[in-house]
Amino acid sequence: MGALVELRDLSVHYGDKVLVQGVSLGVEEGSVTAVMGPSGSGKSLTARVAMGYVDEGLRVATGSLRYPAHSDRDWLSGVAGGPPRAHARLRRATRVLRGGWLSYSPQAAFSALNPGRTLGRQLALSMSRRVEPPASPARELGRLLERVGLDLDAARALPSELSGGQCQRAALAVAMAPAPSLVLADEPETGLDPVLTRVVTELLLDVCKEEGCGLLLISHHDDTVERIADRVVRLGAHA
């Protein structure tokens, strides 16, 4: 199994404040890495940097970021300790990866879906980011929907016509549509009841394993992480 992401010794500052100090994480093909920690410990921030995105105003002080399965490049070279310009350049450079090679399964599924477009159109758009377009897009769309446990009629539905659980499944289908190698799931359990949390997390895991992609999971739930993660990165309150 090759490594998908290698993030080493990351430190991020906001003004004088140190948000994250010396964090490393890695995700291997077909494996799950979980990031845990109390609120404000920089979980989302670390995961976002791993996806090649440094929010505006933040400064990376040290660190290196490689996607060995994609290229040998160190995406943070010149950015770490560099000026804001370099950070903006990184965001632009990695944009081609996000939504394609890197994918994101959002926290609040309903608000992440476009309310004015049917699910089918959103999936088609997301699928268009693939490097190798599928031979039959319609069949591929059907396969995706079936994979996440929705029926074909859902392709014609607007997000407002889906239930909470269906929206979670739909958002997962959109995340998987570009055939990504790495998926970031930011607290997929937010707002879900315990049973649905388990169902959605298991689905996420199954789909990622089946498609052979790595999963970077941000979670608060010990029992979820304990059961599905291959590696756990714990961040302290002021790591």
Binding site: S39, L192, D193, P194, R198
Partner: protein, 309 residues
């Protein structure tokens, strides 16, 4: 009893996508009894769509039940006109799910609490301010008294909605998922502020799908499934026994059935590990009343009903 509700039913009629689409009936609550004793915290737990919120709203008169009776503090509450309810409303208060949208973006924290006291209790300006500050101090918010809602953290916004309700010294507080949207490590503190500051011998209904919250703060939990209460349990003494309640409290330790909920009979019968051939007919016919297993612990299940009789 602070609240005594018997056999509540509520069905919503859902319009289709277009005006000419057929309407659909969605039964939300199907025959629920709910009592809250003075000083008692009752948790309503269940999955999304199990009817928790509808039940809680009916108790406050925010929804009218189709059938059933509600008495608050021994006086009839259901089916009254708003004019008849108005003078009593101040005693029965609601903590909303989404704190930020429940607060006025242009009012400070102190003004929120003060205005509530002046309008609902009729305090004069001086008195209202003193009582509001006292309540903010109890909830650890005095430093934020002059802040606007958007300047507060999620937990602080939540505390403002609590302060506003608790300052009225209500007899019954209905909190609809008071911790949703908060970081998990901040939830306990908000619940401690709510339950710890309830007026003496007031009742509280806590709607939640955080099982840890129900365990820590409620005297009694009602487990809801498909608009019915399938188990009533004191979590400090007993463990849930209904297969659905077990799944809800420890989702990773039990199998999640693929089958959907049954629309008639016992809603859980399609995936129930306790059902055998002898019970199949009985379970398809209906749900029994809560079978008492021990004092304060009852389960609505034919399996337990059979073994106890």
């Amino acid at each position: 009893m602070i609240c005594e509700a018997r056999d509540l039913h509520k069905t919503f009629v859902q319009a289709g996508t277009f005006p000419w689409s057929p309407r659909r009936e969605v039964p939300a609550v199907r025959g629920v009894d709910l009592t809250v004793a003075p000083g008692e915290v009752v948790a309503l737990v269940g999955q999304s769509g199990s009817g928790k919120t509808t039940l809680a709203r009916m108790v406050l008169g925010l929804e009218e039940p189709d059938q059933g009776t509600i008495d608050l503090e021994g006086v009839r509450w259901h089916g009254l006109s708003e004019r008849a309810r108005q003078p009593r409303r101040v005693r029965y208060q609601y903590v909303p799910q989404d704190a930020l949208s429940a607060l006025d973006p242009q009012q400070t924290v102190l003004e929120h609490v003060e205005e509530t006291l002046r309008v609902l209790v009729g305090c004069d300006r001086h008195d209202a301010r003193a009582r509001a500050m006292a309540m903010l101090e109890r909830l650890g918010l005095p430093a934020r008294a002059n802040s606007l809602p958007r300047q507060l953290s999620g937990g602080e916004q939540r505390r403002v909605t609590l302060a506003r309700v608790l300052a009225l010294e209500p007899r019954l507080v209905v909190a609809d998922e008071p911790t949703s949207g908060l970081e998990p490590d901040r939830r306990q503190a908000v619940l401690r502020d709510l339950v710890g500051n309830l007026p003496e011998s007031a009742g509280c209904i806590l709607v939640t799908h955080e099982m840890a919250a129900a365990r820590a703060w409620a005297h009694r939990a009602l487990v809801m499934l498909g608009g019915r209460v399938i188990e009533e349990v004191d979590l400090r003494r007993d463990e849930p026994t209904h297969p659905y309640a077990k799944l809800l409290f420890a989702p990773w330790d039990h199998d999640v059935p693929d089958a959907p909920l049954a629309t008639s009979g016992c809603p859980w019968r399609h995936g129930c590990p306790l059902m055998d051939d002898a019970l199949a007919d009985t379970c398809a016919r209906g749900l029994p009343a809560l079978t008492p297993l021990s004092p304060g612990h009852g389960v609505a299940c034919h399996f337990h009903h059979r073994s106890s009789s």
